[in-house]
């Protein structure tokens, strides 16, 4: 992650002085954006750069659902199954995806293309059901629209 340090330094310009610890989450997010996950060597590099205890970074990586220490599929399909989405058809969508891809939520297809996850409320209840593909919200999803979406990205 050393090549990202210049970018990290820019983050500091709008922060108060001496709050290196605050950079932990932004740096981890940026590292993950690039690598797809956070590697052990990234953790070591971040410890050197920020001077925080290594355990703090390990804890943070284990606490936040969006951060991961292992790679996942190229396309991360995240289906919200909270209240409003379940009331507007999230469960049939989830079943459909699981059958179509042949994986259970939490798993990745053997060819490494798709990872299926269930997630909690995404703040998009008015356009339920919602599926997030990598970072993008796909709202008002029906099974047909999902099939078309998957055709499109496959």
């Amino acid at each position: 992650m050393k090549h990202l340090i210049a970018e990290f330094e820019l983050l500091k310009t709008r922060l108060p002085a001496g709050v290196e610890s605050s950079l932990v989450l932004p740096c981890l997010r940026r590292i993950q954006e690039e690598r797809g996950y956070v590697a052990d060597s990234d953790i070591d590099g971040l410890v050197d750069y920020l001077g925080v205890p290594r355990i703090q970074i390990e804890e943070v990586l284990s606490f936040y659902t969006q951060l991961r220490r292992k790679p996942i599929g190229r396309w991360h399909l995240q289906v919200c199954h909270n209240v409003s989405c379940s009331m507007r058809g999230a469960e049939p969508i989830l079943d459909h995806l699981a059958r179509k891809l042949g994986v259970a939520p939490g798993q990745t297809t053997p060819d490494g293309r798709f990872t299926l996850s269930t997630v909690e409320c995404l703040g998009s209840c008015g356009t339920a059901p919602v599926v997030v593909v990598n970072d993008t919200y796909h709202e008002n999803m029906s099974i047909d629209q999902l099939d078309a979406l998957i055709e499109g990205i496959a």
């Binding site: 205890p53 290594r54 355990i55 703090q56 390990e58 804890e59 284990s62 606490f63």
Partner: protein, 480 residues
């Protein structure tokens, strides 16, 4: 100095105290798991909740450990509301706690057991399976962690951040899948204070591997002692089998060995902590012992060796003594009185530090790895040992002397507790007792004097140095 009322009793508190601190200082007990007087307040166990009375009847409850005292406040620690709450908290804490008491080392000194009997006593009302987690997770080579027993009080984590400063423990994950874990770079393994988390743990989640399944604590007795590992002289408790509970074992050593070592709280020296070297005192004390007096390597009865030593001492002109920095104040005083006039005496550093042993740190560990250098130097000064051409006798008391440095032609009298090749090469060898076989005092590097008590009986063929010095100083015809 705010005045408040706890259960109607007037309590004088200090200005920035919490209700918990004020209660503890006044002998009023409020149950707690996560609170500890030497650590920060996380307020997560929620068992110390107390009720505060308000005039208009709108009483409120909150945790006592984070509640600042205020003038005139009326606190109730045993009201129906509080008792009901404690039962509820214990129910929740025991919800997933495995019923391991029968095989858990902590039984008998477990806060959860104690509070369950005192405040709850009811069986679980759950009929759901308990959440399973890792058991026997090796947190380090020395400590085993059972996550199912863990109540996530975070004392161990806070200890490594605030006291030992290794920052080596943390809590991974979240919710009821949270797990205490050590940092992945091995810093916990290298933390010389790691074992304090075993004492801190209120339940049987963190256990000592060396003590694992060795003994039930109620069969053991804790004898106060002083760790000889360095000049800090932390006070400790040495646990060993109670005489009335001795095992009918073939090997008598099972009843005369150290089961474990824990801190003896001491505000003047070590607070409630000790380092791992103190935990491993058995390694130091239970090395093979020298059991027989010898003359040039030939075993003889103790009185024979003493008589030979008396004659030798009586006949030399320039004797030098190397005095043990492991000697107790009493033994050192006896040497000074009995032999100090005859011998040019120097204080010897019995122990150097082992490779890899920490030399000094911010907490307890000191560079001088001997318990009573201060006591010895007070009597014998701090000049480095020196021989000259006319030195005709060297009396070495204790370990750590390099016999290659012996001046040619000098005789040797060697007093040692442990088996060493040099024992057989001394002209006169006298086996002596160790700290756990007698009482005495050490003076630490700051001048604090601490006492140790005997744990085990001494073998009759072994001498107590204190009596030995008197005997050695007597003229040869005197009987021992």
């Amino acid at each position: 100095m705010p005045e408040l009322f706890i259960n109607g009793q007037l309590v004088l508190a200090e200005k920035n105290q919490t209700v918990m601190q004020a209660a503890v200082a006044n002998g009023i007990s409020i149950p707690y798991f996560c609170w500890h007087p030497q650590l920060s307040v996380p307020g997560n166990c929620r068992i110390c909740i107390v009720e505060v009375e308000e005039e208009k009847g709108d009483n409120w409850t909150d945790i006592a450990c984070n509640m600042p005292v205020s003038e005139g406040m009326r606190v109730l620690t045993d009201s129906p509301v509080v008792l009901a709450h404690r039962k509820a908290m214990l129910q929740l804490m025991l919800l997933n706690h495995p019923v391991d008491c029968g095989i858990c080392d902590k039984a008998g000194e477990c806060t959860l057991q104690d509070y369950h009997f005192q405040y709850n006593g009811a069986p679980s009302v759950s009929r759901d399976a308990k959440v399973r987690a890792t058991k026997f997770h090796p947190l380090s080579d020395r400590i085993v962690l059972d996550n199912e027993r863990c109540i996530l009080c975070s004392r161990c984590v806070r200890f490594t951040h605030e006291v030992s400063k290794s920052h080596a423990l943390g809590i991974q994950g979240r919710g009821d899948h949270s797990l205490v874990r050590a940092v992945e770079n091995g810093r916990f393994e290298a933390d010389p204070y790691s074992d304090n988390v075993i004492d801190l743990c209120p339940v049987g989640a963190l256990l000592s591997r060396s003590f694992l399944h060795k003994a039930r604590v109620w069969y053991l007795k804790a004898t106060p002692s002083v760790c000889p590992g360095c000049e800090r002289g932390c006070t400790v408790q040495i646990w060993h089998r109670k005489p009335e509970w001795k095992l009918q074992a073939l090997d008598p050593r099972q009843n005369t060995s150290i089961a474990r070592v824990t801190p003896l709280e001491n505000s003047a020296v070590n607070g409630p902590w000790i380092c791992n070297k103190a935990r491993d005192l058995a390694r130091i004390f239970e090395r093979p012992r020298a059991e027989h007096a010898m003359l040039s390597g030939a075993p003889v009865a103790l009185p024979v060796a003493i008589a030979a030593a008396q004659r030798l001492i009586g006949g030399v002109e320039h004797p030098v003594a190397l005095v043990s920095s492991w000697g107790s104040n009493e033994e050192l005083a006896a040497f000074k009185e009995c032999l100090g006039g005859r011998f040019a005496s120097f204080v010897k550093q019995d122990c150097r530090f082992e490779p890899g042993e920490p030399t000094e740190d911010h907490l307890l560990i000191r560079p001088d790895k001997n318990p009573n250098t201060a006591g010895a130097r007070k009597l014998f000064g701090d000049t480095a040992p020196a021989f000259h051409e006319q030195t005709d006798l060297v009396l070495v008391w204790g370990e750590g002397f390099d016999f290659a440095r012996l001046p040619c032609g000098a005789k040797t009298i060697f007093l040692n507790a442990y088996q060493q090749p040099e024992n057989a090469r001394a002209d006169i060898f006298l086996p002596v007792s160790i700290q756990t076989e007698r009482r005495g005092h050490y003076t630490n590097f700051e001048g604090v004097v601490s006492a140790f008590e005997p744990c085990f009986p001494k073998d009759p063929s072994i001498a107590d140095a204190e009596q030995l010095f008197a005997a050695l100083a007597a003229p040869p015809e005197a009987r021992v």
